[in-house]
Symmetry: C2
Subunit: 179 residues, 2 copies
Amino acid sequence: MNTLSFGLLCILATHNYTGYELMLKIQPFWQAKHSQIYPLLAALVKEGLVLFEDVAQSDKPDKKIYSITEKGLNELKQWMAESSAEPVTRDEMMLKAYCISIVDVDVIQTLFDEQEQMYANRLAKYKNYCELIPKIDGGIAEIDFHSPQFGLYIILKKAIMNAEVNLEWCRWVKSQIKK
Amino acid sequence: MNTLSFGLLCILATHNYTGYELMLKIQPFWQAKHSQIYPLLAALVKEGLVLFEDVAQSDKPDKKIYSITEKGLNELKQWMAESSAEPVTRDEMMLKAYCISIVDVDVIQTLFDEQEQMYANRLAKYKNYCELIPKIDGGIAEIDFHSPQFGLYIILKKAIMNAEVNLEWCRWVKSQIKK
DNA sequence: CTTTACATGTAAGCCGTTACATGATTCT
DNA sequence: AGAATCATGTAACGGCTTACATGTAAAG
């Protein structure tokens, strides 16, 4: 049982999904390709933590809809109560930033323009997600922590706060260069 | 040539270091163990991008001091001008947050207390680093972007901004739970 | 007519962590 | 007496990415 396996259980704890849908759902929190997810789902089935139902489709390929078992939910709850490992970030830009003084101003400018654009895109994307959650209008309305929507609500809040502060950082760096 | 190899070149572009020192220096930006770094350094030597000097020591083990070559600096500058890959973050806590509503309030409380403590520790650590850079007193003084210290300056600024906003997020989540 | 979305799976290879191996000095 | 720091290296294993493989339908 690795972290990604527990991540799949987390998502199945809220709703039933196909492997393909799980891949799309877990993307924002844990980058994983389908080639990694399908074998893990097979292992979870073998251990009796999830089960699946075959669904035949005519227009699209047949699919398997996975759901979490009682045993799976128990193991998940146990894992939830354990201390979390420190987040790991690998950011190429931080390596470049370390020796930024060795390149020309125009190269620095381009790098930070791109970086700013990336964070602006993220911010727009996350703010878009907000509109899909009915109860959040402009981030003012609050969701009760007992609600199953609470998880997505706090994650989106964090994603937006991080994107905003990183955008701000890019603009600050650029202001330092111009002077 | 993978990203970590370029990361090592970035650090060697500012100063000469042993493999052991490189491991310590790169930790904050790219988590890597010595077992990964030593073979990469050997490969960089083979390609003529870095070279090393043997230094015998009596009290401590003998060491190799690495420095970047002209060829290494050229390849680094070329890489610096390329677009940066998107940062990858793997945060166990985000997986847990997704289905946070399935556990009891006291479990949520403990998880976010620990998370808050972690970000508080990071913030303290980064603010400590600041005092080691002479020109930053409380983050007010500015460093010219031509200075080799500029890289560390902007990285620290980002690390502090991120730690602060994540701390704020932890406190906000906890305020949502109490109500 | 090509790309994207849906849908599942395997194989090869690189990346990263843990463990094995050695050894002196300093701190607790 | 045991742990931490400095210092280098290899081996085994698990995690993640890229590529191989197949097939339909909708959208550009």
